[in-house]
């Protein structure tokens, strides 16, 4: 018996199979349903009805609003934390980092239930501020996903660059704006991707915090439970396209930023 050897391509087969069965095939089904009607005929009606109804567009806007605000809040909260952690000379940084990441290990439903009680104590009646509660819930849920990537980029940041900036006469603020921040853009981008996309569809948070307005995820569910696969699939497809565009856009930025040191604020 000779040694069993696998080429790289062969090692990809299991993943390839997985991809075909569980990613590619469902996608084909979604596309098929999205562009057909109940009689199985090709139609663009699902697409036009999505963009012509003030309710579906409103839902898209509402989900977008939640995602944008959540991402913004996460970024504002996470960056200082990640920065302080990465810059501190404390030896057991990983312990502190763990404290921030630890909530992720606790069951999600349990955390939101606890948050619900805390918010009730603070606000009294939760139903008056559904948008605010949702943003708080999402932030609570996704904050670690923002801290981690920023922290990892910052910790890898070459200290000599900062020294060089100081040697060339930059003060602390200038160093931060012209060196640290531009160099951490890839981390920020991956943080944004990890927070923005799930917060557009994670309707469990809304359900649990008594926000009865539909977002994209729940709208798809609503169509499916009305046995309307076609409109539901179309919304899923539209969401997919949005995600795709978003990823392409952010990819371009994170790549070029890693290469040239111009940065968003460079110009």
């Amino acid at each position: 018996m000779g040694k069993i050897r696998f080429s790289r391509a062969q090692l990809c087969i299991p993943y390839g199979l997985f991809l075909v069965c569980f990613v590619f095939a469902p996608l084909v089904v979604i596309i098929y349903y999205a562009f057909t009607n109940g009689q199985g005929q090709f139609t663009l009606e699902n697409l036009t009805s999505f963009f012509s109804s003030p309710n579906t567009i409103g839902t898209l806007a509402y989900s977008f609003g939640i995602a944008v605000v959540t991402t913004g809040v996460c970024l504002l909260l996470a960056y200082p934390v990640a920065y302080i952690l990465a810059r501190s000379s404390y030896r057991h940084k990983s312990v502190i980092l763990m404290i921030f990441v630890m909530p992720m290990w606790i069951n999600f439903t349990l955390r939101i239930t606890a948050l619900k009680e805390v918010l009730t104590i603070i606000e009294g009646n939760l139903s008056f501020h559904p948008f605010l509660n949702t943003v708080i819930g999402m932030t609570y849920d996704f904050l670690p996903f923002m801290i981690l990537p920023i922290y990892t980029t910052l910790i890898k940041l070459d200290g000599s660059l900062l020294e060089a900036a100081a040697d060339l006469g930059a003060d602390a603020l200038q160093t931060f704006l012209k060196v640290t921040l531009p160099l951490s853009v890839p981390g920020i981008i991956s943080g944004i991707v990890m927070v923005f996309l799930p917060s557009m569809t994670n309707y469990v948070v809304l359900d649990m915090l008594y926000n009865s307005t539909y977002i994209m995820g729940s709208l798809i569910g609503a169509y499916f439970s009305a046995y309307d696969w076609h409109n539901g699939s179309m919304i899923a497809l539209i969401l997919l396209v949005i995600i795709l565009l978003f990823t392409l856009f952010t990819n371009r930025y994170s790549d070029s930023d890693a290469g040239s040191r111009g940065g968003v604020f460079g110009a």
């Binding site: 309710n55 539909y214 009305a226």
Partner: protein
């Protein structure tokens, strides 16, 4: 050359993949083959265990493992105890009674719509337990098998269902028709109930709670919850919209009152749907939220004062609250209430022409309809069984007394007739139980509502394809955020953000051109 090599690799990979699939499939069939041969060798082909695929609601059957102190000893000597899941007991009972081995594959579904989608996507079950409207839909689509004539033979002592089912439930089933066939032929009642308002008597009066318009009452602004479910919310909306007619005395006294009531509560005309949407839009601004499950806990923690509730969940919530020394009550709106039930139906694509399987499925329904099984299930899940027992076997009535009968020394006990359920005659002296007067509006009232509530109950039928589409669209419109509601400030902020973004992009591309 290099490219050729690459191509060769690719072909190799593809071939390997195909080979793997082949081997995998082959193994499967080889395996099956061996299993089949073995079974055939050991026993006669006929003796192979019958596999019965049952799909029921989650948490909707006794799964056993009761504590020792949970043993129920009734006055008629019956002892009720759930040691193991009831469907395992059924397997043993079937083996003993009919000498055949049966294996129950038990699975669960979350909502009627989920179940329907599972069925359309190709899942096959033999016996399922959907709600009345889904049964109607499945009947209309000709997906169900009728029960055999033997199933309705009262002389067979093992036909527990027909001998024990409540006359009230059986009548409801037998008087409703789809495509000219009555439901009783296709469905066997399992659990039933009504809908109403669970409320906190300290903060809300019974009168305030006894109407569907409590959900629009500004006094309880943001303190009441509706159900996160289009049918229930639509029913409440109909109750409010048609309140004037529904409570009109001439209407109540009409000889065809019940038919007209059911017609009103099944109104799916476009104008009514439009009115319901406007009303629900208003209600959405007055309710705390829509919920499916959280309402019970929120009542107990005092977040809300009243919620739309199914009778079984109301019983559960009142029991829970009692443990915390907190009183909750159940009121049934004066306009009308939704009489619902879940029933066992056999599916054509599961049972087919397999007589053995149909026999096992019918036996399963019969086993569930044994009075002791019904008590076990009722005790475990808190809903009311459609099983009433009979004059010889009064276990269910004994269980009712075990739960609710007043102690002999209680002074203000009242007579509570439940004859409509047990014998079909509410004046039946055998079925009048003495209960504490405080039971009115409490557990017993929710579990076995008095006759006058049953009189104003209506079954909500399934919506046909057009109505279903219209009502679901109405519900989506209610739930979605309207783009015209976006405040001007937000539009301006968005505009500014886009401008900033464009500026950044512009400078970046300029920079990129300079660099290159």
């Amino acid at each position: 050359m290099k490219r050729m090599r690459k191509m060769y690799r690719l072909v190799q990979c593809l071939a390997l993949t195909i080979l793997m699939i082949e081997v995998w499939q082959g193994q499967g069939s080889i395996g099956n083959g061996i299993g089949y041969v073995k079974a055939a060798d050991q026993t006669n082909q006929k003796e192979k265990p019958i596999v019965l695929r049952v799909c029921n609601w989650e948490e909707y059957i006794d799964l056993g493992e009761w504590d020792e102190e949970e043993i129920i000893e009734l006055e008629n000597g019956t002892v009720i105890f759930g040691e193991q899941p009831i469907y395992n007991d059924f397997e043993e009972w079937y083996q003993e009674t009919y000498g055949r081995e049966v294996h129950v594959e038990y699975s669960c579904f979350g909502t009627n719509e989920d179940l329907y989608n599972q069925l359309t996507m190709g899942d096959t079950y033999d016996l399922i337990c959907p709600s009345e409207y889904m049964i109607m839909k499945l009947m209309a689509e000709d997906k169900l098998c009728p029960y055999s004539e033997e199933f309705y033979n009262r002389d067979n002592p093992y036909n527990y269902y027909i001998n024990n089912v409540s006359p009230f439930i059986y009548k409801t089933l037998a008087t409703n028709e789809i495509n000219g066939e009555n439901w009783a032929k296709y469905a066997a009642g399992y659990m039933w109930g009504i809908t109403g308002v669970l409320y906190n008597p300290e903060l809300m009066t019974e009168e305030e709670a006894s109407t569907w318009s409590v959900f629009g009452n500004p006094k309880f602004n943001r303190q009441v919850t509706l159900k996160d479910n289009v049918r229930d919310s639509y029913f409440a909306a109909l109750g409010i919209l048609k309140a004037d007619v529904l409570t009109d005395e001439a209407f109540l006294a009409a000889s065809d009152y019940h038919e007209r009531l059911e017609d009103l509560m099944n109104d799916v005309s476009p104008t009514t749907i439009e009115q319901a949407q406007e009303l629900l839009d208003l209600l959405m601004d007055n309710v705390y939220s829509l919920e499916t499950d959280s309402g019970k806990a929120d009542m107990i923690t005092g977040k809300i004062v009243a919620n739309y509730q199914w009778s079984g969940d109301a019983v559960y919530a009142m029991d829970q609250a009692d443990e915390d020394d907190f009183e909750l009550k159940f009121a049934v709106p004066k306009e009308s209430t939704n009489l619902w039930f879940d029933g066992w139906v056999m599916l054509q694509n599961g049972i087919g022409k397999d007589a053995d399987k149909q026999h096992a499925a019918e036996a399963f329904v019969n086993y569930m309809s044994r009075t002791d099984s019904a008590v076990r299930n009722m005790y475990y899940i808190g809903y009311t069984s459609s099983i009433a027992g009979n004059r010889e076997d009064a276990t269910i009535y004994e269980y009712l007394k075990w739960c609710y009968e007043a102690q002999e020394d209680v002074e203000d006990s009242i007579e509570y007739p439940v004859g409509y359920f047990f014998s079909g005659d509410n004046a039946d002296a055998d079925y009048i139980v003495d209960v504490d007067a405080s039971q009115i509006g409490r557990q017993l009232y929710a579990q076995y509502p008095p006759q006058e509530i049953i009189d104003r109950s209506a079954v909500m039928r399934y919506f046909d394809a057009d109505a279903n589409k219209a009502i679901n669209q109405m519900w989506i419109n209610v739930r979605c955020f309207d783009i015209y509601d976006v405040p001007v400030g937000v539009w301006i902020a968005v505009l500014v953000a886009i401008l900033v973004l464009l500026r950044t992009v512009y400078f970046k591309s300029k920079l990129a051109t300079c660099n290159s």
